[in-house]
């Protein structure tokens, strides 16, 4: 058996980024949630907001710390494994990545410390301001990273000089055609992910009969947000799909599992894709629905993958199945939210134990949907790193052998399997402690530096020990 450095490098990239993406998926939404809670506390002065905010801030600190640590790995991957891509595309993408680092560090260093340690040391308005700036910072990070990714998906604003991408128009580069859709779809996904975690944790606390007032408030807020943004997300997803159809039709063909062009096109619910034979085995199809969903007309044509040469087709399996997982989760989420709202209207939300259980079960679904959506769009981009211009196979570092990458991947797997479960167990411990009464007598923690020097530890210290 020979080890392919390209395939292994892709697996390594997937491994380190899949773990990393779970953290922004949670912290982007959580930062905004904390900012809202702090705002409510500032306006109403009611202690319940203060308690809930403190509870989630402790958990935020841990996930943020893990995000920073796993994020250090990422920029170096471009050099170690993807040096030919780096050489070709750095002039365009490097400022975008650099701005992410600079701005994130700037906002983190200035405001995160105040948010984490400053509750008793600064006035409420300053604490709210810090929370809002941290939330703004997480959104800025998402902005720059997704701008980079979108440019790789739908590149523009460059010219090719000696086989390298040279920037021509920065506005065009940052706001590439898929960027607005990708950004809104992602941020909404992050918000939904966080809201389902909040909903699940609230339900868990309620079933244990702990911090009942806080738990009810968490559930109510999550349900009220979700009834707005889950339908919004379905709309945004649809728009994102139309945008993809326009700029990356081969990706849509892979998502649809469509090898042959069809007009009108049915919607393939399920099937076993076979890239070698270019057929879908045992396909279950609904006539006309594919055209209706994608072209918003009964008779729209959907191009099949056979329209492209075999070496320009993405593999069908991963995008096809991942997309169905993502959409399936979206449907489940919508049902949960509707049921929750109905129960709330009837005033039976708090004693429907089966529903509280359901909320607990669905709490991690957002993470699964984020990973599935990411697999859909990234595998669907193949075989390109810069869509239609630079191939993945031509992007990898030429000096690497398969064995080299196999070793490094093994190291990353071992270290991540120690680090992430430990961090997750620690966050679970913070959840189990639940919201706490603010202890105004407790000694003031040292925050003078204003930086989260050790977010894990400060989180633990902020929570009274059991």
């Amino acid at each position: 058996m020979t080890l392919d450095p390209v395939l292994l490098s892709r697996l390594q990239w997937s491994w380190v980024i899949a773990w990393h993406i779970l953290l922004p998926a949670f912290t982007v939404g959580l930062a905004s949630y904390i900012a809202v809670l702090e705002g409510l506390y500032l306006v109403t002065g009611e202690e319940v907001w203060f308690r809930i905010s403190g509870f989630w801030t402790r958990i935020f600190a841990v996930s943020f710390g893990m995000g920073v640590v796993s994020g250090i790995i990422m920029p170096f991957q471009f050099g170690t494994n993807w040096s030919r891509f780096t050489d070709a595309a750095a002039d365009v993408i490097s400022p975008l990545l650099s701005y992410e680092g600079l701005m994130a560090f700037f906002l983190e260093s200035s405001f995160l410390g105040v948010l984490l340690f400053g509750r008793r040391l600064v006035p409420a308005w300053a604490h709210f301001f810090a929370a809002a700036m941290v939330a703004f910072g997480t959104l800025l990070s998402a902005f720059w990273i997704l701008a980079t990714n979108s440019w790789m998906q739908t590149p523009q604003g460059y010219k090719i000089v000696d086989g390298r991408f040279e920037p021509v128009d920065w506005t065009a580069i940052i706001f590439s055609p898929s960027f607005p859709y990708r950004f809104l779809h992602n941020v909404t996904a992050f918000y939904i992910t966080t809201a389902f975690v909040v909903l699940g944790v609230g339900a868990w606390l309620l079933r244990r009969g702990r911090a009942t007032e806080d738990a009810r408030m968490m559930m109510r807020m999550a349900l009220d947000l979700l009834i707005l943004i889950v339908p919004l997300q379905i709309f945004l997803g649809d728009q994102h799909g139309l945008n993809t159809l326009e700029y990356q039709p081969a990706k849509i063909a892979a998502i649809e599992g469509r090898y042959d062009t069809a007009q009108p096109a049915p919607l393939t619910l399920f099937g076993i894709p076979d890239d070698a034979a270019a057929t879908m085995h045992g396909a279950i199809e609904i006539p006309y629905l594919g055209s209706l969903v994608l072209t918003h007309s009964w008779n729209g044509a959907i191009k099949g993958l056979k329209e492209w040469p075999a070496d320009q087709r993405p593999p069908v399996g991963p995008p096809f199945f991942a997309f169905r997982v993502m959409v399936g989760i979206g449907v489940i989420m919508l049902l949960v939210v509707i049921v929750g709202q109905v129960l709330q209207l009837r005033g039976r939300l708090w004693d429907s134990v089966w529903f509280l259980r359901l909320c607990q079960l669905t709490a991690p679904l957002g993470f699964v949907a984020v990973i599935a959506g990411w697999i859909t769009t990234e595998v669907g981009r193949q075989p390109w790193t810069v869509y239609g211009v630079l191939r993945t196979a031509d992007s990898v570092s030429p000096s690497l052998t398969g064995a080299n990458v196999a070793w490094s991947l093994a190291f990353y797997i071992v270290v991540y399997l120690i680090m992430f479960p430990t961090g997750i167990a620690f966050m679970a411990g913070l959840v189990r402690r639940g919201p706490q009464q603010p202890d105004l007598e407790a000694p003031v923690s040292p925050i003078e530096s204003g930086r989260p020097h050790e977010p894990f530890e400060s989180a633990a210290r902020a929570a009274p020990q059991l």
Partner: protein, 334 residues
Amino acid sequence: MALDLVPLWTILLGLAVFYYVVFDGFDLGVGMLYGLVRGDAARATVMNSIAPVWDGNETWLIFGGIGLLAAFPLAFAIIIPAVYFPILMMLLALVFRGVAFEFRFKHPALRTFWDAAFCGGSLVATFAQGVVLGAFIQGFNVDGRHFVGTSFDWFAPFPLAIGLALMFGYGLLGACWLVLKTEGELQDWARRAAAICLVAVLAAIAAVSIWTPLAHPEIARRWFSWPNIAFLSPVPVVTALIALGEWEALRRRHELTPFLGAIALFLMSFIGIAISLWPMIVPYRYTLWEAASAESTQAFLLIGTLFLLPVILMYTAWSYWVFRGKASSTAGYH
């Protein structure tokens, strides 16, 4: 033509790398020395001396890496794959060290494990950085715009020796930091450790100064041809004077001077390497100008950098100011 931004980016990147080497250097050094310190109270003091600042220091590694990527992408694309395994080891060691720093407070039962992870992580990261520097000076097997050697080219006497030397170098910075931040017995211990590291560092500087001109005729010509030798002779002389001053400062039990002296020794070594390699960024192959990114790229990033960097620096200075004075085993940070 528009303004040539390459010199400015060279200075910015040089400063970022030097800042990283000195600041993360001392806390990596403290991390390594931690393994040699005995007694719970002393160990807690050692830990507290870097607790407030270590992760801020580490952030500069990202600035250095991303700065190289943005300003001199060709160098990034050639050098990083060439040191594939040292970079891997450094990253994993830093991750492990960072996590260990937090978790060692969490799990008293696993304290020994996380302590070892912290110390070992510091050691591996330092050694790996030294190997990267050594491989950089050694030069890379380049064809066109790509590194075409093997992923083990760094496994050679010179890079490995530099890895070892850097352990003593960071050890010196760390020990001098402890002299500054501790008192009594622990301070005496740190002073002895600093003296030992100083001797090793001076031996390493001397060895490198002989080894590199012998291995690279162009470096020999740079230093020893007339009139260069006249202009450049102050470099070794000043280095020797600083070394003497450092020894005296340690002997006379100064507190701040040894740390400043250690930084000065690093600065002289940094200048020495810069003189040897100038104007190469991929040694013996590509100059700074040949490896630079497009003018538009450098200009676009410069706007934000010039605005944000001073704020970050002021902020960092303030946080060091807040945590000035002696570290203790109990009060303060933890």
